[in-house]
């Protein structure tokens, strides 16, 4: 992926609107999109992306065709030029020093060979039939959509946000139905991918639900005798079979399994589930502990899935989830934190056991028997990326379990920093932390530098004042005053420039007296707004449309020979 670059659209919203407009099939929206692209063309000049040019040319042909005002011969000419330009321009960029035959390039680029033949007929042979041109236009538009529009601007990334995926899947589905039937074979690989993804998630969900149901069944049957935990620890053949299925799914896509596991109702219990298990939700708030019962409920599954890759992925997913948690879902954040702690502790315990070679056994918690090397540095990153009240604790666990360990002073500093950082402003409530650290100011590097500067200045001022005092003998309190002034003065650039600026602005204003040109308001914090954006201006794609405009022709100008035709108004 390339670095930052300048493009003709203000933001992705505008891009998306144009793409949907061009391919949506609604004539009015198509025209709107074409008109917007005419503005893009003025911004881009010669740098206009080829694919955008080709797409709009072909769509213009389609609109002409649909209008019914143009005879078939003229349509063949229009379609023809647009098609020739597409084939030539799109393949030209692939040409190296020596001429490579178009057919070969087209094959490499997945452009149907018959489109290349069509081009050949158009330029060197008999003019083809309108139907062939129409078909060529549709196939090429579809090719452009698939290879350019759908892949551009990160549209091809299988994003984390499922909603967006759904929307896009719908959108592509919608355009597909409107496209001619012969383009169907060129189904969007992406939307297939999305569908596959969705299907897979559903599969995982079903298997997990059957596991959950099994466990609940056991609970109902054995808990009255207090034996549910014991039975859970020795899974039945049904449970074993379910576990085997999940293992297969993990093999296929461990991230998806981890994702589903962290949906509400699995590792993160719903209130109803807790009720069923008779777990009071606020019982364990203080401790970083999963309720024993709930732990045992899932233990067979977690044990079964425990592997280097899956455990790592699951912990990372949990941190990522934690990052998105807000106070509103307290249960979720609580369980996420507790599970992370549980996993980390388990890893550490395994380590401890191995190292000491003692036969110490934590009687109740045997999450893993095998120790698995985790990617500890990555975990530190993840942990620090999801700050909450528990971060220092989780960090401590990571540092303890880490192999090889970080130097001890690094450990200390990290812990110290993380505890400073999370004392305040975390989005999660902090039931464990003491409240006396709150209310302390937060220092950023900038504020510290500023403070250091102020202190220095104040010191100098103080010294000067002292000196003055000794020389003049008197003027007590003067130094203090100055110090105060320094303290209140903001060091920002604008302030420093203010008098100069004001003067210049006043002069300009006077020079513009009575003119239509004025100085814009200096009350606006211009520095906060990038070029092309004004205060209060929303990013909506149609924000810069004008409803009315006047047209003016010039009297005293040499009339241009080729009186230009304005585009559709």
């Amino acid at each position: 992926m390339a670095g930052r670059s300048v493009v003709a659209w203000r933001g992705k919203g505008e891009w998306d609107q144009v793409m949907v407009g061009l391919y949506g099939g609604d004539g009015r929206l198509q025209q709107h999109a074409l008109d917007r692209v005419s503005a893009w063309k003025s911004r881009y000049g010669q740098r206009m992306p080829l694919a955008v040019d080709c797409t709009t040319d072909l769509i213009r042909c389609k609109i002409l065709d649909v209008s019914g005002n143009v005879s078939s011969h003229e349509l063949v000419l229009s379609y023809g030029l647009a098609l020739v330009r597409f084939v030539n321009l799109i393949t030209e960029r692939k040409q190296k020093i020596f001429y490579i035959p178009l057919r070969r390039l087209a094959t490499e680029m997945n452009i149907p060979v018959w489109v290349v033949d069509l081009r050949h007929d158009l330029t060197h042979g008999k003019l083809p039939q309108l139907n062939a041109c129409r078909k060529g236009c549709d196939v090429v538009l579809e090719w452009l959509r698939r290879t350019y529009w759908s892949c551009q601007l990160g549209n091809n990334l299988s994003g984390e946000c499922e909603e967006e995926q759904d929307e896009e899947a719908e959108m592509t589905a919608a355009t597909e139905t409107e496209m001619d039937s012969d383009t169907e074979e060129a189904q969007d690989l992406q939307s297939q991918g999305y569908l596959k993804d969705k299907e897979f998630h559903e599969k995982v969900r079903n298997v997990l639900i059957s596991f959950r149901n099994q466990q609940f069944g056991v609970f109902k049957e054995f808990q009255p005798f207090g034996k549910a935990q014991k039975v859970w620890c020795n899974p039945s053949s049904e449970v074993e079979w379910i576990l085997a299925q999940i293992k297969d799914l993990v093999q296929e896509n461990r991230d998806a399994v981890a994702e589903v596991l962290l949906e509400d109702g699995f590792l993160i219990p719903t209130v109803e589930h807790l009720d069923t298990l008779n777990i009071k939700s606020d019982e364990n708030k203080e401790l970083l502990d999963i309720p024993q019962l709930f732990y045992c409920f899932w233990q067979p599954l977690l044990k079964g899935l425990h592997s280097q890759d899956f455990t790592q992925a699951l912990i990372e997913k949990m941190f990522a989830n934690l990052k998105q948690c807000s106070e509103s879902s307290e249960l979720r954040s609580q369980y996420l934190i507790n599970w992370i702690a549980e996993f980390l502790t388990a890893s550490t315990k395994v380590k401890a056991r191995k190292k000491m070679e003692s036969c110490y056994q934590s009687q109740k918690r045997k999450l893993f028997l095998r120790r698995i090397p985790l990617q500890w540095l990555k975990l530190i990153d993840n942990c620090l990326g999801a700050p909450c009240w528990a971060t220092p604790h989780l960090l401590q666990l990571i540092l303890t379990g880490m192999e090889p360990p970080l130097p001890s002073d690094t450990q200390k500093n990290l812990l110290y920093l993380s505890s400073i950082y999370t004392q305040e402003g975390s989005s999660l409530s902090s039931p464990g932390s003491s409240s006396d650290t709150r209310g302390q100011p937060i220092y950023t590097i900038e504020s510290l530098q500023w403070k250091a500067r102020q202190d220095n200045l104040a010191k100098k001022q103080g010294q000067m004042a002292e000196r003055q005092e000794t020389v003049l003998g008197g003027g007590k309190g003067e130094g203090d005053e100055e110090e105060e002034e320094m303290e209140t003065e903001s060091p920002s650039l604008e302030e420093l420039l203010h008098p100069v600026n004001m003067l210049a602005v006043a002069e300009k204003r006077a020079a513009l007296q009575g003119s239509v040109w004025q100085i814009s308001s200096d009350e606006v914090q211009w520095k906060d707004f990038p070029l092309g954006k004004l205060p209060g201006q929303a990013d909506e794609p149609d924000g810069l449309m004008v409803e009315h405009y006047s047209v003016m022709s010039l009297i005293d100008q040499p009339m241009t020979r080729d009186e230009r035709h304005s585009p559709s108004m």
Binding site: S42, A51, L89, V500, V516, L531, G532, L544, Y549
Partner: protein, 480 residues
Amino acid sequence: MERFDPVCSVVLLERLDTPVTRFILSYPDFSHLFRAKKQRVPCFIPEDAALASVGILKCDPESGLLVSESTILAIEELVQACREENDGIPVILVCGPKCVGKSTFNRYLINLLLNHLPCVEYLECDLGQTEFTPPGCVSLMNISDPFLGPPFTHQRTPRKMVYYGDVSCDQDTERYIDTVKYVFNSYKKEVPLVINTMGWVKGVGLLLLIDIIRLLSPSHIVQISAEDFKDMPQFTPEYIHLTAGLHTKGKLQATCKSMDMGGTENWQPCEGERDFQTSTPGHKLLCVKPKFPGAGDAAKARVHSSILRDMAMLGYLGQLQPLETRSVLPLHSLVPYQVPFSAVALRVIHTDVAPKHIIYSVNASWVGLCRIPDEVRCQTDGPVLLTQTPVCDCLGFGIVRGVEMEKKLYHILTPVPPENLRVVNCLLLGNIAIPSCVLLNQQGIEGEIPYVTSEYNYQISGAGKLKVKKHLQRREYNRP
């Protein structure tokens, strides 16, 4: 002082630290601009020590300014003509293909002329490599101070300027001719004139150059061309007199053609033709053969011309920096001017934009601030769109910093002084974009920046611009 004899050269060195240079250096792309390349100095001659301390070193003779014999002769003759003015005031037209040293010749000539004359006029006809203005315009300058550096170091306000709106005139050669004619009309023929022309001298470019020569009827033509350059015939007075241009006809053709022309084709350049024919008294041709290595080879140019254009624009925008301060103020933090939609006419020169989407073109774009003689008339409070591109005075350039849709105001950043801005009633938008570094480096902006993305993937087919491969070889090249 007595140690200096009369032929001594005194070099005054000043630290180049102005608001403009500080502004240019504030962009990461150009921050290394004045940093000298580290070079090993093999032998250190003691007398150079003082000079070396300020960065002046002895170069090998080949890497200095190589002035060929023919150049010296031509310049001597031109200086002579300008001093004596026996045959009227000289109008010197300099032409030749790309990268043969036209600009260097001009600088050398003008700086030498300034030793004898208080000022020289300079007509810039090269849209792509303008010497004193941002790119895309034809301008007439009055020069009284010598100039040495590249264009971005000496952006000046011209006496007359028209914004053509592109770095090449091939899309609309007629408007280009009209533009040159319009600017040239301001030349009062009181001081010598040096005319710089485009490096486009092949095919249509050559025909256009012939038109320009007819139009301007110079007293001297300096034709610079490399040894092996065959595409440009010698511009002798006879050749210019007889050869057809793109829009004008040669003497012979014109007379036989004028009979069957009748009134069928009554187009602009034909009217101008009369001027051309009466005003070709013949010129003196001075042929110059450059001698520096790589002459005429555009591929060997040290800096890409588009980069020079960007820097000229930055140099121009640098004039927005307040003189009093040391620190650089980012462009977007400056207080812009505002002007209502209804007060200025608008025209996109290089392409047709759907009127209702016009603000999408204008927003955050580079505009020429122009003055049309007509009064701006509007029926609504919306934008006023011109139906054709005017050839009119351009007073300077600006960036449309934002457009206020509710209040219908353009906000524009420009160094044009307010007294000139008062008369601006037309915004021309051409095929010249704000240097991308200006949009990419907006310090202190949080969140998304309009027109900037990190997600555009140039690797995808069709994502790039049209690229014309001129020299594609065919394997079966031996065909006729």
